[in-house]
Symmetry: C2
Subunit: 539 residues, 2 copies
């Protein structure tokens, strides 16, 4: 008999399921008067934040919403969406934040698949949501967000969000999950083919991802956080919970554009923000007037696609402190970050940018991160060269895909979460992505990383944005085809771009064709390579 | 059927028991060359730290040590004790760090009660451990720490620690706990009456306490941490795991005395340390030469007894950044801290010290902290005045007491962990301790907080240390009796001290007797009030 496992059971005094909801209750108790949220001229304290979330939970409960139910919401980064991250799961229900760029058909599919019971919809999206509601089979209660800062649209629901929560009880006695494995949110991946998959997060993972952000980003308390990252994207990478845990201020933002961002920086003293590389591009390609509004040392977390080294170098010059992170919807957003090594400080701006463009090392709460040969499941050598599939294990991995055991099983095949991304491990243990499995170009039997080719293109002074895809080729199988947008006023032609590439990388990797065009993007700023592959095929 | 609980089970890819052991593996992988430990002229990197811990685990395993076994260790803050925090639980065994000030009889009791299988003992404690081993019934393997920086003593075991781990395999394939509720350590409380109780910690709690320290203390990565707090005390408040998680440097220290502390500050750039108020007294009552060695802004976490406001004020003046924390062995050390409110910055040094002397608010990972009427279990009003018993709930509470279901049950009666401490909750929600239940003085039916009386005594310019206890009194039941140590060269008499108290507090709370004497202390710097109560009774 093991004495350490005898008469030493869990009880209400010594065990509590982990949940990020506890962060709000705590901050409202410890920092009641601290500003929790700013939205234009409107702001409120942690005490009021907590009251509003409990009102929401109470109003939902009185409509019969509870454990196992789905509440969907479509909105830009406004207070109602922030509050939903607490108020919805306080009832035991699951938050389903919808991607605002989706079409009506996809939204209808999601509402049905998620079995949506109640929908909160911002006036700005009334057109698409009216269509989606007409298309779907489910029949949710519809609540409108009538944000005074929003433009256009109609009220299409039963009542406004403010009226809805006004009926709720700010003293509502919510309780946390009975089990920390209970679902807290449902995020559909913007799959480029096939139906969207519903990624299910649980309270334990959300708690660990939220504190993980703080630990990895060296955050101290009371940050002023600007919402440049969509909250519908992996629950804003769990930052609604992180910023609340550290008693910070959420600065809401309806539209992600340079003027609004720099205005918020100047007006509210923003010191932290997250976003896709497109946000970095906005920051560096703006007016001097705007640039003057940002204080030095603003911490920026960037993910989605690996930011080109040239962009990182320019951010560095402008005084932003950029941390590059990597993740997927399936791992609560970032679960890997490029942990900065002080020994790199003395390197050139370009070398620092190249080091920073690597994806890096795992969050504390991610148990394992490795690059494996997907056939043998053996780790690749740490040589910065041998490619394999990036795989992960640990508490930052989703429960699985909703009502999709087949795909869930495939994602977890071999007891690892298979990201579908290809990468290498450098000698120092840092991960560097080379491509999505489906993006890699195989030319004459040689693998070509499109990310590597894009990195060279971004160093060309005339190039604003670049994306490289495979183009079918009779001789080589595939060859690289580049799509490029030029900077305002800059000039370059196909021959010049190709010559620049040949001067800077192995010739077999160079684009054989260069197309000057706008890049099609997803709502989260990722280039839609499947669209470009179609275009390349038809050249 | 709840779709969120169907086909979405835990598996090896998406679930891993929480354990602080993962922090070492991670830091060794991310920061292999960073200095992990300094001990005099000896230092080693994270890579070597991890190797040594795995060697230890391997050597223990090959001796048959595994799950459910206890490994005891008695040592000052030396590398072997730090390594034991990882190497011992890596085998599944439980670490039992012994209080170095205990007598042979108590140590023998603990070795037997813990069913010690292997003992690691520093040469400095060979005399007492030889006696303890002769007294106890168990027959552990004995390993000697033969630290070149240690003075005196003999080798009493089978081999030295360095020889023991030299046989171990640095590639040892350890695995974490199968269940995060598994025991990681066993810490005996220095009960003032009755047999010591063995407090059992689990991996989950140790993980959350370790990351909780970082979150509450606003720690960023790579701190230089000086080991002024005994590692045997609540596992050094879990800082062996915290500092390792954030890739910091552990600066070992055999003897906690001013010269050694300031030397380490000057030599290694120490920026963080913890300790009992006695350590603060050392820092403020030292030579100017010493004081010049400390850089400004060193962060000091202080706990055990509430530090007198006068001591905190002096620390503030010297440029130390003191955070006051509160906890007990039963809650992994600190679980409550005086979270600083920026609005208090403009207050006077004295007012700031008084605010800082309050125990404060709960760690993020502690679910509930309150002061309840122990009879009705109702919370006391938040008036800073109504006393009740401090109670806690959450993941920072022990599994229970080893082989002691009766006492465990009493500690958790009513579904709360009952601390036995008396306190009040201020209007702003901050806890302030008033006394241990057994320390409170009841005079003429009025409760007198000995901590409050001591706070006034510490403001007297001649007083170096003060402790107040109840003295039996025919008329009043009890009256306060003060024991006081004067500063070097300072003079004061009983009448003068009492007059000072009457000028500064309600008269019924003033000491009726003042005794000038050394204060008896426990190994952790707590005044032994039971000794003083005996003296007061016999005055």
């Amino acid at each position: 008999m093991n004495p350490f496992e005898t008469d030493l059971n869990q009880n209400r005094a010594n065990y509590d399921p982990l949940s990020p909801l506890t962060f709000l209750e705590r901050s409202a108790s410890v920092y009641p008067d601290k500003t929790a949220m700013i939205h234009g001229d409107w702001s409120y304290s942690y005490s009021e934040f907590y009251d509003r979330c409990r009102r929401l939970a109470s109003a939902l409960s009185s409509r019969g919403i509870g454990k196992g139910d789905t509440v969907s919401i479509i909105a830009p980064n406004v207070p109602a969406l922030l509050e939903s991250h607490f108020g919805v799961p306080m009832t035991g229900a699951v938050l389903n934040a919808l991607n605002t760029r989706l079409d009506a058909e996809t939204l209808a599919f999601i509402l049905d698949h998620a079995e949506c019971k109640l929908l909160i919809t911002d006036r700005e999206y009334s057109d698409v949501m009216r269509k989606a509601l007409a298309l779907c089979s489910c029949d949710p209660v519809v609540i409108d967000i009538d944000d005074p800062l929003g433009d256009g649209g109609d009220l299409i629901g039963d009542m406004t969000y403010e009226a809805f929560i006004a009926d709720g009880d700010p003293g509502f006695a919510w309780s946390g999950p009975e089990d920390e494995w209970q679902a807290i949110s449902l995020n559909y991946t913007s799959g480029t083919t096939g139906d969207p998959k519903g990624v299910v997060y649980h309270h334990r993972g959300a708690y660990l991802a939220a504190t993980g952000n703080s630990l990895s980003w060296d955050m101290t308390k009371h940050p002023i956080y600007l919402w440049t990252l969509p909250m519908f994207h992996c629950n804003g990478w769990c930052f609604p919970w992180t910023i609340t845990a550290v008693g910070g201020t959420h600065v809401c933002l309806r539209k992600v554009e340079a003027d609004g961002i720099f205005e918020a920086m100047g007006r509210f003293g923003v010191d932290h923000m997250c976003g896709a590389p497109i946000v970095l591009s906005m920051l560096i390609n703006t007016t001097d007037d705007n640039k003057a509004k940002a204080k030095s040392g603003i911490k920026v977390m960037v993910a989605a696609a690996p930011p080109p080294a040239a962009v990182l170098a320019e951010m560095d010059r402008m005084g932003f402190d950029v941390t590059h992170v990597y993740g997927l919807t399936e791992c609560y957003g970032p679960a890997v970050y490029c942990d900065w090594n002080d020994n790199w400080n003395s390197k050139s701006v370009e070398d620092r940018a190249a080091l920073k463009a690597r994806q890096g090392v795992r969050y504390h709460a991610l148990s394992e991160l490795d690059v494996l040969d997907p056939e043998t499941m053996q780790p690749v050598p740490r040589d910065g060269n041998t490619m394999g599939e990036v795989m992960m294990r640990g508490n930052l991995i989703m429960k699985g895909y909703l009502k999709n055991p087949g795909t869930t099983g495939k994602a977890f095949e071999g007891d690892w979460f298979r990201t579908g991304d290809l990468g290498v491990i450098h000698e120092d243990g840092y991960l560097e992505l080379r491509d999505r499995s489906k993006d890699i170009i195989i030319s004459g039997g040689e693998n070509i990383s499109t990310i590597e080719v894009e990195g060279v293109l971004y160093r060309h002074p005339a190039v604003l944005e670049a994306a490289v895809v495979a183009r079918p080729d009779e001789k080589w199988g595939e060859t690289p085809c580049a799509f490029v947008t030029l900077r305002d006023g800059a000039e370059a032609d196909e021959a010049g771009i190709i010559a620049f590439c040949r001067d800077n990388m192995a010739h077999f990797k160079c684009p054989k064709a260069v197309v000057f065009d706008e890049l099609p993007k997803t709502s989260t700023g990722k280039v839609q390579k499947f669209v470009l592959r179609e275009r390349a095929k038809n050249l």
